[in-house]
């Protein structure tokens, strides 16, 4: 497709990226002992919706798979941290040099206390909480992602927990990390995740009487068509997309 060959690096993106990383490869789905969950599916080759796909790949259906669980040894200090957290963690994912601990919400408070207080961990700094809505991740649609840093050890980890859409409750981290206060309010505001035990879980960015939670995937972007020089430009979420 390109007119001249990529001059430089060997790791030029040759294929659709979903097939690139070994841990993303579909064959991992069948591997025993490794839990790989599809969080959605991608149809067609180019992701075009609403118009005919004449490429012949219109019927292609590929699962959207996030990086899968890592196997021991993780290497370096990852093992030190993982050893401490082992009984509380569902899954450890290492991707691009960042470690993510997936913790069930029932164990979250215990895990976070340990993460903050254990002398070998000492993640005393909570960067924030972020919600991610995976409508295709059945039973775990709403994820809350915590980024933690240890200034003592100069380390960073990510803790991820989830709640189903039908029961969007996650324990609040405010008693452990007061910094989580506004971040949890924002996540409630944007995703409808309820942080049990938060001192005042109210909307923070949207008006108090706002209906719905705007960052959820089922919440429309909104927008109106714009007429420009006789042509009409549809709003961004209704334009042709390739996702």
């Amino acid at each position: 497709m390109s007119d001249d060959k990529p001059a430089g690096p060997a790791k030029a993106v040759e294929q659709p990226a979903t097939e690139q990383s070994p841990e993303n490869a579909p064959e991992a789905l069948g591997e025993p002992g490794v839990e790989v969950r599809a969080v959605g599916e991608r149809q067609g080759m180019f992701g075009v919706k609403g118009s005919g796909d004449t490429s012949g790949y219109g019927g292609l259906v590929a699962p959207v798979v996030l990086p899968g669980a890592a196997q021991r040894p993780y290497g370096g200090w990852f093992d030190t941290v993982a050893d401490k957290l082992d009984p509380l963690v569902e899954q450890v994912v290492i991707h691009r040099g960042e470690i993510t601990f997936h913790v069930h919400r029932d164990h979250l408070v215990a895990a976070m206390r340990l993460i903050r207080d254990d002398p070998a961990l000492r993640f005393e700094f909570l960067s924030g909480v972020n919600g991610v809505h995976y409508p295709g991740d059945a039973g775990r649609e709403l994820h809350a992602v915590y980024h933690l840093a240890s200034f003592t050890w100069n380390r960073r980890i990510r803790v991820e927990t989830s709640a189903p859409d039908s029961d969007p409750h996650i324990p609040s981290m405010v008693p452990i990390y007061p910094a989580a206060d506004w971040h949890e309010r924002e996540t409630w505001d944007m995703f409808g995740l309820q942080f049990d035990g938060h001192p005042a879980l109210t909307r923070i960015l949207m008006p108090d009487d706002w209906p719905g939670h705007p960052q959820r995937k089922d919440y429309p972007l909104g927008g109106i068509p714009v007429e420009y020089k006789g042509a009409t430009v549809p709003p961004p979420d209704q334009r042709r997309s390739y996702n």
């Binding site: 990529p6 960042e98 972020n130 100069n154």
Partner: protein, 445 residues
Amino acid sequence: MSTDFYADPADTSDGKVFTVSGQDWGDIASGLGEGDAAERVVVNMGPQHPSTHGVLRLILEIEGETVTEARCGIGYLHTGIEKNMEYRTWTQGVTFCTRMDYLSPFYNEMTYVLGVERLLDIEDDIPEKAQVMRVLLMELNRISSHLVCIATGGMEIGALTVMTIGFRERELVLDLFELITGLRMNHAFIRPGGVAQDMPPGALDQIRDFVALMKKRLPEYAALCNANPIFKARLENVGHLDLEGCMALGLTGPVLRSTGYGFDLRKAQPYCGYETYDFDVQTWDTADSYGRFRVRLNEMWESLRIIEQAADRLAKLEGAPVMVADKKVAWPSQLSIGSDGMGNSLDHIRHIMGESMEALIHHFKLVTEGFRVPAGQAYVPVESPRGELGAHVVSDGGTRPFRAHFRDPSFNNLQAMGVMSEGGQIADVIVAIASIDPVMGGVDR
């Protein structure tokens, strides 16, 4: 209760409501009567108060001039940038996030781009010149941002000269931004894979002139403020927050460093090659607004040091690439200066329109469809002028961000407003907030 044409009484049944429209203090004092209400006065300051740094609303419970409880109301500048980014390509995302914290646009771009580059696994492939230019622009940006902080902070306590000279120098930085990126603000210059274009001719000379000028001008701030008794009286021991408070509330940046703890992401977890630059982390040990002012002032000197080193490196990198070599990621279009200002490079247009059909298809595919980013998530924080700024970038393998969330330092640091100002005077609330240096565009996003 007065009937005011402009301000209808609020629709509340909870307690007495007074609409204050001026010259009616007597009515209000007599209306309060006896009991709890007489002692409890809740005042809204903002969201359009000139000294609350943009559209920040403060809800203050006061007893005379003393603040007993302070809360923030935010969200007045919420623009849904994060949601909008989910409907644009990865490259277009830069155009959106640069508008968040409008005083430090390069940092917004940088943390997002670092996240995207990590997911693409091209972190090691970014050309050296692009990294040096990023560092140069970020440090120039640190100076312009700190200048606004000091300038507006000075204005709010009545030091108008600090404001006028602060904005005078900031204008010089914005001129450099305009020269290098084409825009004074909202640059969208740092792109996944590198930067949008090369240094323009003559830019290095102007940067060196600027550094030389700043070395003369920065001592003016010190002479004007550092030992100024009025300035010190307003700032010293105001907005106190010690290290424990900072850690609990997640404060970073000058507020954290004013407690004497020298945490700086540029040193602790370097990115863009910061480990190869010679600079010191500036701290102060008073944990108050004055300390934060001094930290910012000293940091501008350190930024000048880094800018000088970056300029020297750029002088040796003339003609080097500023975009990753991988053509499946690198933005195909190039900009150039024409007779009517900056626009698309005519050479590139000629190439795709007249010479190579494949180049046209390549350009079209990359610009309309964009590139795909492997599924996963990344968080690469940078040390913005206000502290740890990080973008949590989530991809589902598509051509658009599945989710991009910005951990803005202003948003987090504003949480400390209550602790910093409760028990103090109303006038000190303004000083405390100015020392946090919140930018509402970043807080509300």
